[in-house]
């Protein structure tokens, strides 16, 4: 039967997906296990950055979630999409722009004559991370608020509570699951992020792993990676314990907003969007006008497309059997879990593991193949998820019908299952392609010498201090991110049909 074939194809794929973990643990333990004051400092920085980002994301995201869930706003869907848009931007783009804008000699001073303090270290990193992660909290909290039974608010108000009191005492406690879920995603994202702390010069695990790697301290990098993975594991464990409230879904509250409040609200949302999207876009546009395409070589864009396209094709081919094994039963779903590993692990950590594997297998080191392998391992779960959600909705009787009409399993797959799964395959390939285009840390570690992509070129520009040269790669990466958002949203729309 088909399931058996896909299942046995999936086993080596799942094992390959887990190989980097095994390599890291082995490498990390073969390094001298030491926990110096320096490591403690890195740990403290990482935890501070994560904790403060979670806190500020909740402070921004939860009130917005209440408004987006309950307020009767004209064009609510548009507002929601606009507020979710920062998620699609890689935070390193924002960090790059903020780093360039603030401080003495920063663009704000040069262009507008406003003296601003230098933005770096912990405050800078927290600000940038918050701008690009608060939508996680907003979206999960909003989803959980929309699931609550609104008649309890009515009951509380009849019993004499004002609306704000009712929200605080009746609604907020029951939305805790949603807030926690969003907060944990923010924590995971912040722990994994390389670009922001690196650009803001905050010594977190991700930044130090890269520093060690550049100093030829691969064992040290692996050891730090294992520490970081332990933190990730704690967050994942917490995440598995959070359960969202499920109440009887019915009509939701729809509260009238006074015109005065509406204007205030528009002002707040616009300033958030200006900070997250407007400032980076403005910076890149200014540079484009001032410097033109100086320093930019179209080969960078071509390299990005080339590597990402190969990754998308390879990921889809590898994802197909895994997706089909998943629809077959428990064992298959376990295999799918293994492919999530690459996505959950920070890109810098996956890069470290693959550099080591590349060094062992001489023919792989510094090749395009290793870079593509890195992308595939990192984004495989996106392709699997996209194909699976499509394949799951194909009526099983269709294959049975094809078989009873005389088609062999292979023919039934080719003529029925495959064409029906095609939209999922295309969406999966698109997601992998767009994510690979934007991936910074894994690309930095795995790129063959001289093979610069948009993301790595932006990094070189930052390292060299010629920030103005970042215009074209920056704008192209923003464009790629927006396309990714559209693909993702249209995929969700299809899934909800």
């Amino acid at each position: 039967m088909r399931h058996n074939t896909s299942f046995w194809l999936s086993v080596p794929i799942a094992l390959a997906a887990l190989a980097p973990l095994a390599v890291l643990v082995w490498l990390g333990f073969s390094a001298e296990l030491e926990f110096s004051g320096r490591t403690a400092e890195i740990l403290l920085n990482t935890i501070l950055l994560t904790g403060l980002t979670v806190l500020t994301s909740i402070l921004v995201g939860v009130p917005l979630a209440f408004v987006m869930a309950y307020a009767d706003l004209p064009g609510r869907r548009f507002w929601l999409a606009a507020l979710a848009a920062p998620l699609a931007m890689p935070s390193y783009i924002g960090a790059f722009a903020y780093f360039a804008a603030f401080g003495g000699g920063g663009e704000l001073e040069t262009l507008l004559g406003i003296a601003t303090p230098r933005l770096e270290g912990l405050p800078g990193a927290v600000l940038v991370m918050t701008l690009y992660t608060f939508p996680f909290v907003m979206l999960t909290t909003r989803a959980s608020l929309r699931n609550l039974d609104p008649s309890m608010v009515d009951a509380a108000r009849v019993l004499g509570l004002s609306l704000p009191q009712a929200m605080r005492r009746v609604v907020l406690p029951r939305a805790r699951g949603g807030i926690a879920a969003g907060a944990l995603i923010v924590a995971l994202y912040t722990l994994s992020d390389f670009g922001t702390p690196a650009i803001m010069r905050l010594d977190t695990f991700t930044r130090m792993i890269y520093v060690e790697y550049n100093a030829f301290g691969l064992e040290r990098a692996a050891l730090l990676s294992v520490y970081l993975l332990a933190l990730v594991a704690v967050v994942l464990w917490l995440e598995s314990r959070v359960s969202a409230e499920r109440e009887r879904p019915g009509r939701t509250l729809n509260l009238y907003v006074k015109p005065g409040h509406l204007i205030l609200l528009v002002a707040i949302v616009l300033s958030i969007l200006m900070a997250a999207l407007g400032l980076p876009l403005g910076m890149f546009t200014v540079w484009l006008l001032r410097e033109g395409a100086a320093g930019f070589d179209p080969a960078y864009a071509w390299n990005s497309v080339h590597a990402s396209l190969l990754a998308a094709i390879a990921a889809v081919i590898v994802a197909l059997p895994v997706a089909y094994a998943t629809t077959a039963g428990r064992a298959g779903r376990l295999l799918e879990r293994a492919t999530h590993f690459g996505f959950g692990v920070p890109g810098i950590v996956l890069g470290t593991a693959l550099v080591y594997i590349g060094l062992q297998l001489d023919m792989l080191y510094q090749t395009l193949a290793l870079l593509v392998l890195g992308y595939v391992l990192r984004f495989l779960s996106l392709a699997v998820g996209s194909i699976r959600s499509r394949a799951e909705r194909i009526d099983r009787n269709l294959v049975a019908a094809a078989r009873s009409l005389g088609a062999s399993p292979a023919e039934a797959f080719r003529r029925v299952s495959l064409p029906l799964a095609l939209p999922g395959i295309a969406a999966g390939a698109a997601l992998v392609f767009l994510e690979a285009m934007r991936e910074l840390p894994a690309t930095l570690m795995l790129q063959p010498t001289g093979f610069d992509t948009l993301a790595t070129y932006l990094w070189r520009v930052y390292e060299a201090g010629y920030l103005g040269y970042g215009a074209i790669p920056g704008l192209l990466l923003v464009l790629v991110s927006m396309v990714a958002l559209v693909v993702l949203l249209s995929g969700e729309e299809r899934a909800s049909l």
Binding site: L398, A407, L420
Partner: protein, 343 residues
């Protein structure tokens, strides 16, 4: 027994350790339509899926033409030449009507006969999603028949359709199957549908075949109380058996004895087996009345016995509490079950 297309011998089917079909045994005659009926979860669909090759047999064997299938020798579905018609139609959504029907045909003309017979010509190039339920089921039927199956298997083919369509499509499908001369197993949970389309019907309960016979025989002379109640309204009134006749409060009748003798028996009565005449004192009084359109159903308390239901022509109107004479008008011997027997 003449050449049969399908024989099922002591077939059992299990999901994991859970046996859902127990030792089912029957032979399908040439061109015969057999309807398998039973409550939800009785295993009737599983029998069908096993014959089609979608489930493996646990024990016993299936003979389809020259093919012999048992636990050791699984034959894949595509080698069995069975046509399968599903409850949800299972039309390929990416293919149009014609492409669906021609799915694996070399000679595309062969399908035209079925397209014309089922009135599908106007929809040749339509996608399945745009068709009504009845049209979808016709396409599914045409698709199966065009592939020249040796045997047709229909799994609740009408249950996703609305009531008005059910009764007409029922006859249309039966006619087409008879024209094709293909033997068929038709699974349904609707006993009326089963009795009207089946040359024979098999009544299943909890994985076992309780009775397999002509519809008339199963209805009039059911093998046990379950079959009696499943196929229609059934009343059981006490009686005494002696010398092939049974005596009840309603008089003496010929008896048909199924399980065991014993003088104390329960007699099966259908609401149509009795008549009502206004009488004083009579042998009972009207407890309630239900108007059904063409008929009326009365609940009658017998003075010396239980309540019985009697169905009469709609023109016969009787007041609640009126006294009546209940009489058995059935000509056939009445089926009796020994008192207290289960099943």
């Amino acid at each position: 027994m003449n050449q049969s297309m399908l024989a099922i011998r002591n077939l059992s089917v299990a999901y994991d350790q859970n046996v859902v079909v127990h030792e089912v045994d029957f032979v399908l005659g040439e061109g015969e339509i057999l309807s398998l009926v039973g409550p939800t979860g009785c295993g009737k669909s599983t029998v069908l899926r096993t014959v089609a090759g979608l489930e493996p047999p646990h024990s016993g064997e299936i003979l389809i033409g020259d093919l012999k299938i048992d636990r050791q020798r699984m034959v894949p579905p595509e080698k069995r030449r069975t046509g399968l018609v599903f409850q949800d139609f299972a039309l390929f959504p990416h293919l149009n009507v014609e492409q669906n029907i021609n799915f694996r045909l070399k000679n595309k003309q062969a399908a035209d006969r079925w397209i014309d017979m089922l009135g599908l010509a106007p929809f040749r190039h339509a996608k399945p999603q745009t068709l009504s339920g009845g049209q979808k089921q016709r396409v599914a039927l045409a698709r199966s028949l065009a592939h020249e199956p040796a045997l047709m298997l229909l799994d609740e083919p009408l249950s996703n359709l609305d009531a008005a369509l059910k009764s007409t499509l029922r006859w249309e499908i039966r006619d087409v199957l008879k024209t094709a001369g293909v033997p068929a197993i038709w699974v349904t949970h609707d006993q009326e549908e089963a009795m009207s389309i089946g040359d024979r019907i098999g009544v299943m309960r909890a994985g076992r075949l309780e009775q397999l016979d002509k519809p008339e025989a199963c209805f009039r002379d059911p093998a046990n109380r379950f079959v009696a109640s499943f196929l229609g309204d059934a009343e059981f009134i006490p009686g005494q058996l002696s010398g092939g006749e049974v005596t009840t409060v309603l008089g003496r009748n010929q008896a048909s004895i199924h399980n065991g003798g014993g003088p104390e028996v329960d007699v099966l009565l259908r609401p149509n087996d009795m008549s009502l005449t206004p009488a004083s004192p009579g042998n009972g009084h009207i407890a309630w009345c239900r108007y059904e359109g063409e008929t009326r159903l009365y609940g009658v308390y017998l003075f010396n016995g239980p309540e019985v239901k009697v169905r009469v022509n709609h023109e016969q109107e009787l007041a609640v509490d009126a006294t009546v004479d209940v009489r058995i008008i059935a000509d056939h011997p009445l089926t009796v079950f020994s008192r207290g027997s289960a099943g």
